[in-house]
Symmetry: D2
Subunit: 96 residues, 4 copies
């Protein structure tokens, strides 16, 4: 299963990089395989990883004083064949 | 906490209403307060409700033969005041 | 074509209702058919309506002092049959 | 302005890579600066680029026989400083 996680702290000014860095540290510490990009982070994980990960991100942001958070988790599941971030990109490259 | 859940079954034809009905039955059975609209469903819930709910939706769709599913969970959390779907709409109405 | 528009002003405090009210006024003035709910607004429109509408929302928010905005436009298009918000909800009800 | 574009063809089977390749060709041909990743594509663009780009993606997919498409455009705008994909990633790295 691949998820894309975007966490937006609301109400703490227009500069978000220190908060995004906090979220990135939580993702790194999780030990899950991830790919960060300029709009969000893609993560290979299982069902049971999702809520603890996102909740931890919110908890750490709240410790930094964030009172409102909008997160988006896009969950992509496929059962007919193995499904990884690398496999998706390879399959795309072959078609191009 | 309010979430918006959108579940898209991929690869089973352009008509999705029977699959959306399946998802709606899962949400109803959860006992959580929800508000359905033409693009997704908004739900009042706690952290521990999220994964079981979305996982159950995927499981039921897989039983119907769906091999690929793209779900989006938008999680909106706010800690500075009580936060409900009705409260949000009321607060908006007062401002308009 | 049905779109769902969510506009999040970032960095102007945790209370967003006056900004959401501003966005709602822009949507109302557009004359497009819409359905607002507690997480976003669904709108029936054509391709050429999308950018002017979202851009106008951003412009009005910037006039209110918002320096950073994250908007999400979910675009749902279907060509095999007429596609309206009401039609979607009716089709869903019949299946339930 | 940075957007993230995700285009999901619905109803044409679980394997989407040939359709995603089609979308990628449209993005490449646009001449816009982009960054593709395993869940979507991030693009630096202006307001007037958005609708023609997404519409073209839908048109090309419809030529391939796709009858239903769900696209998500996340639009991130910031007016207080220059805003690029590279700048975002650099700013994040400095904070980590």
């Amino acid at each position: 299963m691949i998820i894309e996680l975007s966490v937006i702290p609301i109400g703490v000014g227009p500069s978000l990089s220190k908060y995004v860095a906090c979220v990135m540290r939580v993702i790194k510490k999780s030990g899950l395989k991830y790919e960060s990009h300029s709009m969000a982070t893609n993560i290979e994980c299982d069902w049971e990883d999702i809520t603890p990960l996102v909740k931890k991100c919110h908890e750490e942001l709240k410790k930094m004083g964030v009172e409102r958070i909008s997160s988006t988790v896009r969950i992509s599941e496929r059962t007919d064949k193995p499904y990884t971030m690398q496999g998706k990109l390879q399959s795309l490259e072959e078609k191009m």
